[in-house]
């Protein structure tokens, strides 16, 4: 009897399906999801605190222009005018994706610009002196547009946030100066018209020998010695070796630190900006889509043209944005001549001889 019962128990245990546990990936995903919810809840709590605080301190205004929503305390701050100027620019830059900003209202606490009294914290909101001009306020609103997170791949390539602004000409001029002055063989070749070199310089290609494509030996030596000005221990030997002309030591040093890209954020940003411009109204939505993973392919998809065409067009735009070098303003010559005349008149106009 006992042995029969035992046999049945063993048979039941053997026949039972295995228990399914969660994998490490699933566990991490759940933890991430919890962390995301926690962050969101905190942000909402902060926002609530801020709104409560604003409501307690004074009356509250809600300004809506398009999808742009601003919550602010009552003040002379020209928010309505600024929002009216900011929204068309935001809509033009982001296209239909701009509608998403309605979910992220901008909270502003207008403060007295002349008071020295300590101001209370406003959580995720902004403290703005209420005498800010419409122009500055418009720029501020444009810079606070939040369309939610950009995927890590794009952020890593861009090395910065994706905040579009209406100052393309200025940015392109800055990139022109970079193209001319950056100590990189890839950048110089790019400026002279080599599209492949531009792809390298913009970090669009992920070749393993990218450092040697970015910099020639002399540039690598200069860069490495600049990066390791006062090395210690074993690093010192490598730096000395690099300084004495050992290129492999220089490469070792450069590879052991985060890649020193030859062009900065502005250059990559102007490329994204151009892709969005070429790609039309839905381009920003395509940019937010994390497929394809490769940034070059994604920019090509955003622009709707091949990446080489896009880069060639970018180069043309940058070369056309050559900054005006003169520091004397257009009317400066006449102003200087005017001052010369004024002072000369003082010299001539004195009615007395100097006799003392």
């Amino acid at each position: 009897m006992y042995s029969r019962g035992c046999r049945i128990l063993i048979a039941t245990l053997l026949a039972a399906p295995p228990l399914v546990g969660q994998t490490v990936g699933e566990l991490r995903a759940r933890a991430d999801s919890l962390a995301r919810d926690w962050r969101q809840a905190n942000a909402l709590a902060d926002l609530q605190d801020t709104l409560r605080h604003l409501a307690r301190r004074s009356g509250r205004d809600t300004i809506r222009v398009g999808a742009l929503t601003i919550l602010a305390n009552t003040s002379p701050l020209p928010l309505q005018e600024a929002a009216a100027q900011a929204w068309p620019v935001i809509e033009r830059l982001y296209g239909p994706a701009a509608q998403a900003i309605a979910e992220h209202p901008i909270v502003i606490l207008a403060v007295d610009p002349d008071t020295a009294v300590d101001r209370p914290p406003v959580g995720p909101g902004l403290q703005v002196p209420w005498n800010l001009s419409v122009r500055d306020l418009t720029r501020l609103l444009q810079s606070r547009v939040d369309l939610g997170p950009v995927d890590p791949g794009l952020r890593e390539w861009l090395r910065g946030s994706l905040l579009l602004r209406d100052d393309t000409a200025r940015r392109r001029s800055m990139v022109y100066v970079q193209l001319v002055t950056a100590p990189s063989v890839a950048v110089r070749r790019c400026f002279l018209g080599a599209v492949a070199a531009c792809r390298d310089a913009l970090s669009l290609s992920e070749a393993p020998d990218i450092l040697t494509r970015w910099y020639d030996p002399a540039e690598r030596r200069a860069l490495a010695t600049r990066m390791y000005l006062s090395p210690a221990g074993a690093g010192q030997t490598r730096v000395l070796s690099c300084k004495s002309g050992n290129d492999s030591a220089c490469l070792d040093l450069l590879e052991s630190s985060p890649p020193a890209r030859p062009l900065d954020y502005e250059a990559r940003f102007t490329l994204v900006e151009l892709a969005l411009h070429v790609g039309g109204r839905d381009a920003f939505l395509r940019l937010l889509d994390a497929n394809p993973r490769d940034v070059a392919d994604r920019l090509a998809a955003v622009a709707g043209v091949g990446v080489d065409s896009l880069v060639a067009r970018w180069l043309g735009e940058i070369r056309a944005a050559r900054p005006v070098p003169a520091d004397v303003p257009p009317l400066g010559t006449w102003v200087a001549l005017g001052w010369m005349g004024v002072f000369a008149a003082f010299g001539l106009g004195s009615s007395r001889w100097r006799v003392s």
Partner: protein, 218 residues
Amino acid sequence: MFRVILYSQWKWSRFIIGLGTVAGFGLPILSVQSATRTGDHPLQAGELLQTIQSWGALYPVLAAALAVLVAIATWAPDHRGRHVHALTLPLPRWRYALLRFGAGLALLAPPVLAVLIGAGLATALAAIPAGLQGYPVALAARFALAVGVGYAVFFAISAGTTRTASAILLVIGALIVIQVVARVAAVDLDVVTRLQILLVNWPGPLAIFTGRWMLIDV
């Protein structure tokens, strides 16, 4: 009459003019010497611009120095001679002063020309990287304007009476005293900075001296 005054001023200020001409010619040449060197690693664009910018600080200094010295030299002999010579001439004062002013400006032409020639030569000799350009004419024109404005300012000061000079000094002193008192009393008043902004920012009289003086730029 102008030729006589020009000749007399030339005698008084020829040393200054000679030195200024040599400096004006040499400055642009020296500023690009690193770009003309035939080394194994010539200067790259960024380094060249830095070098040019560093040397560029000397152009307004040279312009101001020339302006001050020539303006002083213009009036110094008259002041020393108690204006007896000027008073013997059958000329109204404004005309005499105008002749002096014109002669001083004419004497400042050689240093300006030297800057133009030196800058032209320097840009022709330098190995300018792609994307950069030489601006010898713009630089020389700016130098001429700076010399002219500086000369006019110091000419007016030199032509004035001791009382005028005292009044100017008194005003400057009063501004400094007000600034110090305001700071001690913790009053938010910054007269000196405001005055400085008015003078050295466009369209202020000294704005031509400020900013970057670049012989080679993007």
